[in-house]
Symmetry: C2
Subunit: 331 residues, 2 copies
């Protein structure tokens, strides 16, 4: 494990020169550069990223943080994929942490990001007013929020038009003739949950259908809660003839509940989920969903962060991507 000094000795130059070669400074004459590169190769030299980060400031440490609430949710996994592709293409390494929708864990990992002096962090905040994220942002750390938006600061954001997506889904259900449409809403305090619920309600109102509070249940975005709440909704009398479920995992849970009750989809209950799944096609029946461009969200966020690293004075950017209704057989 050789260091700058070793390379410098072997090439008979100073460590500063070696450093210049590494950093592609143009102030090194061809001949010396070649000699240094030869020495580096012979020693199998790799710069120590830790030492580098300790010294370097702002945007050149080639390390980026990503904090995700749930890596087992395919939606977030796809975002990670998008971020990673851009990071790799730019020789950035990525620290990925899992906050588990837990404020304590999120705060811990935010501290890690700071303490690791990453160049910037990408995350869906776990609440609309997330004090820990706000604090880190105010300390000057470049942050890009994805999927969910943050109140109380102007921060780079990539989001999806959740209102529009939900509106179109429910509108589709209405066109199919459904009059009693239930909602399994997402976790409270999330911009996405709120926007999707608003889309649901506005679509009902536009169709002159009543918004019935007993047809609305609030879940926690996990599969089990989708199962439990769908079961509750379908036990109502009269029961909804269609369900709009605010997230992918809960939609799968709802499907399970429907099967348990031996109801036919879509004849007895129609179902639309938010977020696509790679195996939506193989479900029973193939699930109609509002597809979010998750990979693009990740990509765009990483690109936005890289751009900010290049120029801190840029005004906060805000990108809103369009979701798309994919009609399969569940409605």
């Amino acid at each position: 494990m050789s260091s700058l000094t070793d390379v410098a000795k072997r090439a008979h130059v100073s460590i500063a020169t070696v450093s210049r070669v590494i950093n592609h400074s143009d102030k090194v004459v061809e001949k010396t550069r070649l000699a240094v590169q030869k020495a580096m190769e012979e020693l199998g030299y790799q710069p120590n990223r830790v030492a580098r980060r300790l010294r370097q400031k702002g945007g050149r440490r080639h390390l980026l943080g990503l904090i995700l609430p749930d890596i087992q949710n395919p939606f977030f996994a796809e975002i990670a994929r998008g971020v990673e592709d851009v990071a790799y293409a730019n020789q950035f390494a990525m620290i990925l942490c899992i906050s588990d929708e837990n404020p304590t864990k999120e705060a811990f990992y935010l501290d890690v990001m700071r303490a690791e002096s990453v160049d910037g962090v990408i995350l869906p905040p776990i609440a609309e007013r997330d004090a820990a994220v706000l604090k880190l942002a105010q300390s000057g750390m470049p942050i890009v929020t994805v999927d969910r938006t943050l109140h109380g600061a102007s921060i780079d954001t990539v989001e999806v038009d959740n209102f529009q997506g939900a509106y179109e889904a429910v509108e589709h259900l209405v066109k199919l003739g459904h009059k009693r449409i239930g909602l399994i809403a997402g976790r409270a305090n999330l911009s996405t949950s709120r926007d999707r619920q608003r889309g649901y309600e506005e679509a009902l109102i536009a169709a002159k259908l009543p918004v019935r509070p007993d047809y609305i249940r609030v879940g926690d975005n996990k599969q089990a809660s989708g199962r439990g709440l769908a079961d509750e909704l379908l036990s109502l009398n009269p029961r909804p003839t269609a369900l709009f479920v605010s997230n992918n995992l809960m939609a799968v849970g709802a499907l399970e509940a429907i099967h348990m009750k031996k109801l036919k989809v879509p004849q007895e209950v129609a179902l639309i989920g938010f977020d696509d799944l790679p195996w939506a096609e193989a479900l029973d029946p193939p699930l109609t969903v509002v597809r979010q461009p998750a990979y693009e969200v990740g990509r765009a966020a990483a690109e936005m962060l890289l751009k900010r690293l290049g120029d801190r004075s840029l005004p906060a950017a805000w990108l809103r991507l369009r979701p798309r209704l994919i009609i399969r057989n569940s409605c």
Copy 2:
């Protein structure tokens, strides 16, 4: 953003003393310790992990690397979850990288691990003889391989009994009366693929059934290849009455191919996949699988790594977990 020096000044002690307090040295008298802690709190001091890592050696840097081939595969996501839980419980941060089954990418991330001086790395090697991993291990970096095993060195390993799992699956198919059983095998050069294929073949031989090469196709562990190869197998004449698929994503692909051909499961084609899926129950039909204890694999690997950091002289450990056949409705 305060440093040791700031704390030292405020507490009227030397930086060495502050360092001792941080590291829970017992050589600090109660009174000074309290004063230092008060100063740290007032300044909101957080030690800089980068500076710390630069100075500290061996196993105390509280950073661990995880390199996964595909984060969108629920099996690997579950492993990540297991690793993360142990890491968090021990105040370790985790760098998660995605190698995409690509040797160049894997080599890049292995270099990052070294350059970031992580304490150790956990990964499923992307080939049985993975020179890049071997090299890093020989340089003294603690490594735990998970899922897939590595040839050419004695390294801590957590794996699953793939032979046994496959054997039981095919045995089950045989008991059901199937005589023509097809195999969609996993990517070549993987210990898992080989062991599962061996389990398949031995189970056939034990049942005095022929091992027909035309009933065996080798995939790449992705959904699309499962779809394509299932289609090929089911176009054979006579076609297999059952399919054993060597990984979860390919099993979903196979299911799609079966649906496309409008074949009834399990009446016309029975299906067993390797690796469970959180939504296996909601598939059409609910999928029979060999379930691997992925979370436990991750947990055990992280614990093994932590143990090794505590004592480098330990002999290489080898843990083999048992998979379990979960019978649902696809056979």
